[in-house]
Amino acid sequence: MSIFEYNGSALVAMVGKNCFAIASDRRLGVQLQTIATDFQRISKVHDRLFIGLSGLATDAQTLHQRLMFRHKLYQLREERDMKPETFASLVSALLYEKRFGPYFCQPVIAGLSDDDKPFICTTDSIGAKELAKDFVVAGTAGDSLYGACEAMFKPDMEPEELFETLSQALLASVDRDCLSGWGGHIYIVTPTEVKECTLKGRMD
């Protein structure tokens, strides 16, 4: 089994009309065994920027701590929050630092940049950025997620419709992957508010 599939994960971010949504599954496993069904993969960097880390959980936790540290330092020095594009470059740089002994993670970054324009991006485990206009996926259920999102995505969806679409895409995809699932976490972010919901799917 690949080291990326040791813990199991599913992450997806999708763009809507002046909003974005980012969702993950909730399973933490050790190969075939499920350890917990309430694992948080997505964390808030600031009110308009979220990062989800899929892949090996220990590296996701280490990377998360390093990124929070760097962002807090940035906030102290610059007296403002980091823009999503800048943060994506930071993530890419941190990952490439370990080019020959990498973190086994695939991050998904989603934020609202200037003029409330949604920004989503994913990188591979050594920091190659992939910007997309519609959706980005990561994790063991990645292939299923690509299919589900491609089928369900429409441009310029309002927050409510985006929530429905992304939830259905996530739940459908994790049902085809034994290493991810046990429900979902979804954050819908608009310029004015952040809504967090827990999804109940097939609990297996």
Partner: protein, 203 residues
């Protein structure tokens, strides 16, 4: 094979570990205590490579004590768990990582009881019930079936005994003896032993 498991109740946390020290096919000790009392209100149940287990848990214990000496207040369970994870994560990418799985149970005055699952590659997660080793396949299933939040100590010990019975009857190399330790507002202490083979009196 080593079995370590634990669960959290309404105002206590219990951890259980087997007590066999094994070298290949030989059981050279059957009353090895694998649950270390980290400080007055914390327990660390560790399983894995024997040398690493003792060295690593002692290292954590001494550093937790050092913090208390320097700062005058003890670490919270969450802080101690995160420190442990940090040490495991740092060693992970160095010459020889620690091969130790840890279940850390603790009681904090404002927070209550908590249990942290930390595996050997430094994955940290706060859990209600956790288990390591081959015994985990049986213990997690038994706990999923019978555990509910707000169990009394007696109910929890009953569940622990069910888990031990399951390990003894279904695991091919089942360890004969177990030690049960509990941590609550009165502190961390040994609760009971469950012995089916009395350790040698001369050992």
């Amino acid at each position: 094979m080593e079995c370590v498991f634990g669960l959290v109740g309404n105002d206590y946390a219990i951890v259980v570990a087997d007590t066999s020290a094994v070298h290949s096919i030989l059981v050279h000790k059957s009353n090895e205590d694998k649950i270390m009392v980290l400080d007055s209100h914390k327990l660390v149940a560790a399983s894995g490579e024997p040398g690493d287990r003792v060295q690593f848990t002692e290292y954590i214990q001494k550093n937790v004590a050092l913090y208390q000496f320097r700062n005058g207040i003890p670490l919270t369970t969450a802080a101690a768990a995160n420190f442990t994870r940090g040490e495991l994560a740092t060693a992970l990418r160095k010459q020889n990582p620690y091969q130790v799985n840890v279940l850390m149970a603790g009681y904090d005055k404002e927070i209550g009881p908590s249990l942290y699952y930390i595996d050997y590659i430094a994955t940290l997660h706060k859990v209600d019930r956790g288990a390591f080793g081959y015994g985990s396949y049986f213990c997690l299933a038994m706990m999923d079936r019978h555990y509910h939040s707000g169990m009394t100590v007696e109910e929890a010990i009953d569940l622990v005994d069910k888990c031990i019975l399951e390990i003894r009857s279904r695991l091919v190399v089942a360890p004969p003896n177990f030690v049960i330790k509990i941590v609550d507002k009165d502190g961390a202490r040994e609760y009971a032993w469950r012995e089916s083979v009395k350790p040698d009196a001369t050992a």
